[in-house]
């Protein structure tokens, strides 16, 4: 089961098991991790599951859909080239060792 590291804005790191087929958002919510709000529950409606993927690991993540690109306009924190909606990051074996940074705020 891939282990994903979530880095809080203050630098604190948490490592969670993200089962294959489960999203980085869902694993965070199930484990009660602070910093992922996910108010739409993964429907790509809210952009409160925003993360920054470690820049040199972007190629391990699935490509962005047009819908995700559109919805990323709503992030409460700055949108960067490595911004993703974590509900769209559904774990594959390549997620082992993935690092995602949580933004300052989601709302």
């Amino acid at each position: 089961m891939p282990k994903v590291t979530y880095v809080h804005p203050d630098g604190a790191r948490e490592v969670l098991d993200v089962p294959l087929g489960t999203s980085v958002m869902r694993a965070a919510v199930t484990n009660g991790l602070d910093g992922i709000v996910a108010e739409c529950g993964g429907e790509m409606m809210c952009a409160t599951c925003h993360v920054y993927v470690e820049a040199d690991q972007l190629d391990r993540t699935p490509p962005q859909s047009d819908d995700e690109k559109a919805m990323l306009e709503f992030t409460a924190s700055e949108r960067k080239p490595n911004s993703r909606l974590s509900c769209q990051l559904v774990a594959t074996p390549e997620f082992e060792g993935l690092v995602v940074y949580l933004p300052e705020t989601q709302v």
């Binding site: 869902r26 108010e39 409606m45 047009d66 819908d67 919805m71």
Partner: protein, 412 residues
């Protein structure tokens, strides 16, 4: 301040949010979240979508793991109902006999399903869809159901219908009006979804109600329609809307009118009492009057608004409403409130299965319904948050760039 007690009545999406946001906002008092359902707060939208279809498990419904509440110092009470509120003594009583004092009270009591009052509605197999328990029953019954009659073609009825068809049932949808989802969407979108459901195999009887439900040995066997037809059925879903849970507020002497009446700060006529989510009737610039909305966005944003106020940062509630519905491979997204529009234009081609309907009232854009067109939905939410200044001709012109329009009007 450290001693203040906030009692939240109802632990659905809105009650959860106000409780969760209070501590994030730095509120130092006690937060007690009371719900009559036997389970911790969960999301309802998947109940008629992925959960019903068996694609999502129950673990994916919880808004937070059960340890969250203790960690956040939220005193969560499950499976106990608030039965009385004393505004003078500022106390409340619970079905279990417990009593407690409060300084602020938040009604987040939501809504319950509206029963259909016809002979036979008590038969086994005539079911609602509002709670997790309802969804569990339906999920189970869909394993065997062959002939399903859906009474009421609102969002939940149509979502249920699309899942039931995907699970192999024959589905007949009865709708008393002539427009599915007619209370809340434009005719263009209503027609589009009706046709989609017909393509997926549903039968529709519009302008048709239920005369009575017939059974055999206590189980449902058929539905007799108001035009005298007999539709065989082994499962009947009743989804003709909801009733807001306002009785407690009414008994406590608070004004109730299609929801608990609140002002733009979501405060009732008693300054210590709030109402949020499906049970609240509030004024909004997006309706040009009062509304009661049933959506996750409304529950969440209103929860946050009340939490901010209790933490000392009052702001009127003025969020852009948004909503979604998944039916088959179609995603409907609504920004604003389109009810009451007097003009609409279509952007894109319905035949391409990707289009939006821009709705206007008195020349002003009031809401946009998008089908498989998230970029329009995003643009609409941004425009509606300010002064949209989008002419109908511009909206209908696919070559007119909405994002450039937003950047342009942002400069004014």
């Amino acid at each position: 301040m450290a001693d203040r007690v906030v009692a939240v009545v109802g632990s659905g999406q809105a009650g959860f949010q106000v409780a969760a946001s209070l501590h994030q906002e730095g509120f130092a008092g006690r937060v007690v979240l009371i719900g009559d359902e036997p389970v911790p707060p969960y999301q309802r939208p998947p109940l008629s979508k992925t959960y019903l279809a068996g694609e999502a498990g129950v673990d994916e419904l919880w808004l937070r793991p059960s340890e969250f509440y203790a960690k956040q110092h939220i005193e969560l009470v499950c499976g106990d109902a608030v039965t009385g509120i004393d505004r003078v003594e500022r106390r409340l009583s619970l079905a279990s006999g417990l009593q407690m004092s409060w300084d602020h009270l938040v009604f987040a009591t939501g809504a319950r399903y509206r029963p259909l009052r016809v002979p036979g509605s008590e038969l086994d197999g005539v079911l609602p869809l509002r709670t997790l328990a309802d969804a569990n029953t339906l999920r189970q019954r869909l394993n065997e159901a062959r002939d399903v009659v859906v009474v009421g073609a609102g969002f939940i009825g149509l979502e249920f219908a699309s899942v039931a068809m995907a699970r192999g049932a024959n589905v007949h949808i009865l709708e008393i009006t002539h427009h599915p989802m007619g209370r809340v969407v434009s005719q263009t979108v209503a027609r589009f979804f009706t046709e989609a459901h017909i393509r997926w195999g549903a039968e529709f009887s519009l302008g048709t109600g239920v005369a009575r439900i017939l059974g055999e040995g206590g189980r449902v066997a058929a539905v007799e329609t108001t035009d005298g037809r007999r539709l065989s059925a082994d499962l009947v879903l009743i989804c003709i809307g909801v009733i807001p849970n306002t009785e407690l507020a009414g008994a406590a002497g608070l004004p109730v009118d299609n929801g608990i009446v609140v002002d733009e700060h979501l405060v009732t006529s008693d300054p210590a009492i709030f109402a949020i989510g499906d049970c609240a009737n509030f004024p909004t610039p997006f309706a040009g009057g009062r509304v009661r909305l049933e959506s996750v966005q409304n529950a969440v944003d209103q929860g946050r608004c009340v939490a901010a106020r209790l933490a000392g940062r009052p702001e009127p509630y003025e969020k852009v409403p948004w909503f979604w519905s998944d039916q088959g491979d179609l995603k409907l997204q609504i920004a604003g409130i389109t009810v009451g529009h007097d003009q609409s234009v279509v952007r894109g081609e319905p035949a391409s299965r990707s289009f939006s309907v821009f709705c206007y009232r008195a020349g002003r854009l009031i809401g946009v319904e998008s089908v498989n067109r998230t970029s329009d939905h995003v643009a609409a939410r941004r425009m509606l948050a300010g002064e949209p200044r989008l002419a109908p001709e511009q909206a209908a012109d696919l070559d007119y760039d909405l994002r450039a329009h937003i950047r342009g009007s942002a400069r004014h």
